[in-house]
C-alpha cells in the first residue's frame, strides 16, 4: 500500500507539474494523455493482470460516449450521465466478456473485434436515427466560456484527480487477493480452478471493471471535446490502446502510464523534435512523412529494446547501477536474476 501511494503520488506530482507550467497546447496534450491513461490502466488490468486479450476497446469508448449523449438528451445532467455511462459500459463489458469463458488467445481477440462491430453498428444506427445528428452530436464542453488555456488547465486538474483515484483503485485491486487470483488464472488456469478460484466470475469481473473504466474515459472525452461522432471510434484506436499496454509492459501500472504517454505524445512531439534537424524547406515538404517513420521507428525500438518494455528497461538500468555500486561479482547474471524475480512476482 505504501509503495502504491508513493508511486501514485510521484506520477501525480509530475503530471501536476506539467499542468502548472504548460501552455494551452501542452495542457491539451496532457489532457489527452490523462484520458489515455484511464484506458491503458483498464486494458492493463484486463490483458496484463488477468491475461484476457481484448482488441475492441474503442467500442467501450463508444458505449461511454453514446450513453452520455443519450442521457443528456433525455434530460440527465453531469455527472449523472457519467455514472450511467460507466454502469452501461460495465454491463456491455460483461456481455462481450461472455465468450471469454470459452475462448482464449487469438480466438478471443477475434471475438472482441466482432463485439466492436456489433456495438459500433448500434451506435451508428442511434446516430443516424437521432434528429439533427447527421454529422454527430454536440455537447457543451466542460468549462465552456473560459479562455482556451484556463479551460484546458481546469480540465487537467479534474482529470488528474480522476487518474489519481483510478491509479489507487486499480493498484489496490491488482495487488491483493483479487490480483493474485487473476494472475494465477492468467498463468495456470487449471491450477486456479483446482484451488477453488471461481475462474468464470473473476474473468467476467475483469471485463466489467475494465469496460467501466474505458466507458468513463469515453464519457469524459465526449464532455471535454464537446462532440460525439461514430467516426471517432475506430479499430486503429483500439490497436493504439493495446500498443500502450504492450510498450509500457504488461501487468505494470507505471508501464501503462508511461505507455499511454508515449503513444499519445510521440506523434505530436516528433515533428517538433525534427525541427532541430531538418531545414525549413525540408520540414515543410518531407517533415510529416519523416515524423511518421520516426514515430514508427521509436515504437519498434521501445518494443524490442527490453523484454520488460519501458518500465522494465528502467528497472534493469537501476538494478545494474545498484549491482555495480555493491561491487558484486557476476553483475549481469545477478541483475537478470533480480529482474526475473520481479517478473515472477508480478
Amino acid at each position: 500500500m505504501k509503495r502504491l501511494v508513493l508511486q501514485t503520488a510521484a506520477i501525480i506530482a509530475i503530471l501536476a507539474g506539467v499542468a502548472l507550467v504548460g501552455s494551452s497546447y501542452v495542457l491539451y496534450v496532457l489532457n489527452a494523455t490523462l484520458l489515455a491513461i484511464l484506458g491503458a490502466l483498464a486494458l492493463n488490468l484486463l490483458m496484463g493482470t488477468a491475461g484476457v486479450i481484448s482488441l475492441g476497446n474503442s467500442a467501450f469508448l463508444a458505449v461511454g460516449a453514446f450513453t452520455s449523449v443519450f442521457c443528456l438528451r433525455a434530460g440527465l445532467v453531469f455527472p449523472l450521465d457519467l455514472v450511467v455511462a460507466v454502469a452501461a459500459s460495465a454491463v456491455v463489458g460483461l456481455v462481450i466478456g461472455l465468450p471469454a469463458l470459452r475462448l482464449r488467445g487469438l480466438e478471443l481477440a477475434l471475438a472482441t473485434i466482432a463485439g466492436y462491430f456489433i456495438i459500433t453498428y448500434f451506435a451508428n444506427s442511434y446516430e443516424s436515427g437521432a434528429a439533427g445528428a447527421g454529422t454527430g452530436f454536440n455537447l457543451t464542453p466542460f468549462f465552456a466560456g473560459r479562455d482556451l488555456a484556463a479551460a484546458q488547465q481546469s480540465i487537467a486538474w479534474m482529470l488528474i484527480c480522476v487518474v489519481a483515484v483510478a491509479l489507487i483503485v486499480v493498484g489496490e485491486l491488482s495487488s491483493h487477493r483479487l490480483g493474485r487470483a487473476w494472475r494465477l488464472i492468467r498463468d495456470q488456469e487449471m491450477v486456479a480452478q483446482t484451488v477453488g478460484i471461481p475462474v468464470v466470475r473473476y474473468k467476467l469481473l475483469a471485463f466489467a471493471i475494465s469496460s467501466a473504466l474505458i466507458g468513463m474515459q469515453g464519457s469524459l472525452a465526449a464532455h471535454i471535446s464537446g462532440s460525439v461522432d461514430i467516426n471517432q471510434f475506430t479499430l486503429a484506436q483500439s490497436i493504439a490502446c493495446v500498443a500502450m499496454v504492450v510498450i509500457g509492459g504488461l501487468d505494470s501500472i507505471v508501464g501503462a502510464v508511461v505507455g499511454a504517454a508515449i503513444v499519445t505524445v510521440l506523434p505530436l512531439a516528433v515533428p517538433n523534435l525534427l525541427r532541430g534537424v531538418l531545414s525549413a524547406g525540408a520540414l515543410t515538404q518531407d517533415g510529416p512523412a519523416i515524423s511518421e517513420i520516426a514515430y514508427a521507428a521509436i515504437l519498434i525500438v521501445c518494443l524490442i529494446s527490453s523484454p520488460w518494455r519501458v518500465s522494465g528497461l528502467a528497472d534493469r538500468f537501476f538494478a545494474f547501477v545498484r549491482a555495480r555500486r555493491t561491487g558484486a561479482q557476476g553483475t549481469s547474471q545477478q541483475t537478470y536474476g533480480v529482474i526475473n524475480t520481479e517478473v515472477v512476482q508480478r
Binding site: 510521484a10 443516424s128 454529422t135 482556451l148 461522432d229 508511461v258 505524445v265 517538433n272 525549413a280
Partner: protein, 399 residues
C-alpha cells in the same frame, strides 16, 4: 525504493516528450513573413499524414500556391500572407491537438481540410476560440452553429444539387419519371445527403429506387449489382470512398448497367475516373482543372507542391479558399478582427477566384457554404485525362 525511483524516472521521460510538444510543436511555417512588415497569419490545419493525407496534402499545396501568388503580387494591402501548417494526422486526438495548437498561436484565419470525423471532434474548440475559419471542410451541425465558419466544400443540399442537376443534363433536362438507385456508406454523414437527394429528385418528378448501404470495408459488390439491375433503375448514384466507388461501379458495369453512374464529390479524382474507365461513369466536381499544363498546376509547382498532389481535387478549392480569405482581408483593417472578417465574407456574393480554380463564382450571402456551381466529369481514355460533361450546373438553393 530504487525500483520506485526508477519508475519515477521513466515517467520523467514522458515529461521530456511533453516538453517536446512545446509551444509551437509540430507546426511548420510554410511561407515567410514580409520583410519589414507584419503579416496576416493563416493557420492551415490539414490531414498531412494518415488515411486522410490523399485529400489533405493537395489542400496544403493549394493553400501554399495561392499564398505564394498573392505574396508575389504584393500581398494584401501590403501585408504578406504567412501560412503555418498544422498536421491533423487523420485522427480525432491529433486533429484536436493541431487545432488547439493553432488556436494558441492566435492566427487571423484558420483554413485547411480535415476528415468529417475530425471536423466534428475539433468543432467545439474552434467555435469557442472565435477565430474565423474559411477552408474546404465538410459542414456539420456543430460548424453550422459557428457564425465565423465558412467553407468551399459542398453542403448536403449542394452535394445533392450537383448530382440531380448533373443527371438532368444527361437525361435532356428533366428527370421526370426516372428511377434513381443509390449506394451509400453506412455512416450518418451519408444520411443527410440521401435525404437531400430524395427531396430534390421528388421535386423533379423522379423517384428513389433501391438504396443499398454498405460499410467502408467491402471487397465485392456483385450480388448487390444484380439487385440494382432487377430494379430497372435509370441512373445510379454512389456515396462512398474512392476504392469502394471503383468496386461498386465496376461491378454494376460488369452486370450490364448502361445508365449514367454518378459519384458524389467525396470521390471524384482523376485516378478514380481512370481506374473505372467506363463511358457512363461520372463524378461531380466543384473545383477547376489543375492537371499538368494548366496555370493552376504551374503555380503549385512553383510554390513547391508535389506533382502528384496538385492534380487532385482538393487542390483547386483550397487555392480558391485562400484567395477568398485575401479578398475578405482586403476589405478589412489590419489587423482584421474575427467579426470584421466574417462580415466581409458574408458580403461576398459574386466573387470569381483567379485561374479558373472554381467552376463558378462564390456566394456567401445565402449561407456558410459558398459554392455555386458544379459539373460532371468523365474519363477520356483517348486523351488520358478527365473531361467535363455538358455545362456547369447551379448549386444555389432557391430563395
Amino acid at each position: 525504493m530504487v525500483r520506485c525511483v526508477s519508475r519515477i524516472g521513466s515517467t520523467g521521460v514522458v515529461c521530456v516528450l511533453l516538453a517536446g510538444c512545446g509551444a509551437s510543436g509540430g507546426a511548420v511555417p510554410a511561407a515567410p513573413a514580409a520583410a519589414g512588415g507584419a503579416a496576416y497569419k493563416l493557420a492551415l490545419i490539414s490531414e498531412i499524414t494518415g488515411l486522410g493525407s490523399s485529400l489533405g496534402v493537395p489542400s496544403q499545396a493549394g493553400a501554399k500556391a495561392a499564398a505564394a501568388a498573392i505574396n508575389a503580387a504584393g500581398g494584401v494591402k501590403g501585408h504578406q500572407l504567412e501560412i503555418t501548417v498544422y498536421d491533423g494526422q487523420s485522427t480525432p486526438t491529433t486533429a484536436q491537438a493541431a487545432t488547439v495548437q493553432a488556436i494558441g498561436d492566435k492566427p487571423d484565419v484558420i483554413t485547411g481540410f480535415l476528415t468529417s470525423g475530425d471536423v466534428a471532434a475539433t468543432a467545439a474548440s474552434l467555435n469557442g476560440s472565435g477565430i474565423p475559419y474559411l477552408g474546404i471542410n465538410y459542414t456539420t451541425t456543430a460548424t453550422d452553429a459557428n457564425p465565423n465558419w465558412f467553407t468551399l466544400s459542398a453542403s448536403s443540399y449542394q452535394v445533392a444539387a450537383g448530382i440531380v442537376n448533373g443527371l438532368k443534363g444527361q437525361f435532356g433536362g428533366s428527370l421526370n419519371g426516372k428511377v434513381i438507385a443509390v449506394e451509400a456508406v453506412t455512416q450518418p454523414t451519408a444520411d443527410l445527403s440521401i435525404a437531400e437527394l430524395t427531396a430534390q429528385l421528388q421535386a423533379d418528378g423522379a423517384s428513389l429506387g433501391p438504396v443499398i448501404r454498405d460499410p467502408l470495408t467491402m471487397t465485392s459488390w456483385t450480388s448487390q449489382a444484380t439487385n440494382v439491375m432487377d430494379s430497372h433503375a435509370d441512373a445510379f448514384v454512389v456515396f462512398q470512398s474512392a476504392p469502394n466507388v471503383a468496386t461498386v461501379v465496376k461491378a454494376l458495369g460488369a452486370a450490364g448497367f448502361t445508365g449514367p453512374m454518378v459519384s458524389s464529390d467525396a470521390s471524384n479524382s482523376d485516378s478514380l475516373l481512370s481506374q473505372v474507365n467506363l463511358p457512363n461513369f461520372y463524378a461531380v466536381r466543384e473545383g477547376g482543372n489543375s492537371t499538368q499544363g494548366t496555370d493552376l498546376y504551374q503555380l503549385g509547382i512553383t510554390a513547391g507542391g508535389s506533382p502528384s498532389a496538385i492534380p487532385e481535387t482538393q487542390y483547386a478549392p483550397e487555392f480558391a479558399a485562400v484567395y477568398t480569405i485575401a479578398k475578405a482581408l482586403q476589405g478589412c483593417n489590419f489587423p482584421c478582427t474575427a467579426a470584421a472578417f466574417s462580415a466581409q465574407v458574408k458580403q461576398i456574393s459574386d466573387y470569381t477566384p483567379p485561374n479558373n480554380s472554381l467552376l463558378g463564382p462564390i456566394d456567401f450571402t445565402r449561407g456558410n457554404a459558398g459554392l455555386t456551381a458544379a459539373q460532371l466529369f468523365g474519363w477520356d481514355p483517348a486523351g488520358n485525362k478527365s473531361a467535363p460533361q455538358g455545362s456547369p450546373v447551379s448549386l444555389k438553393k432557391p430563395s
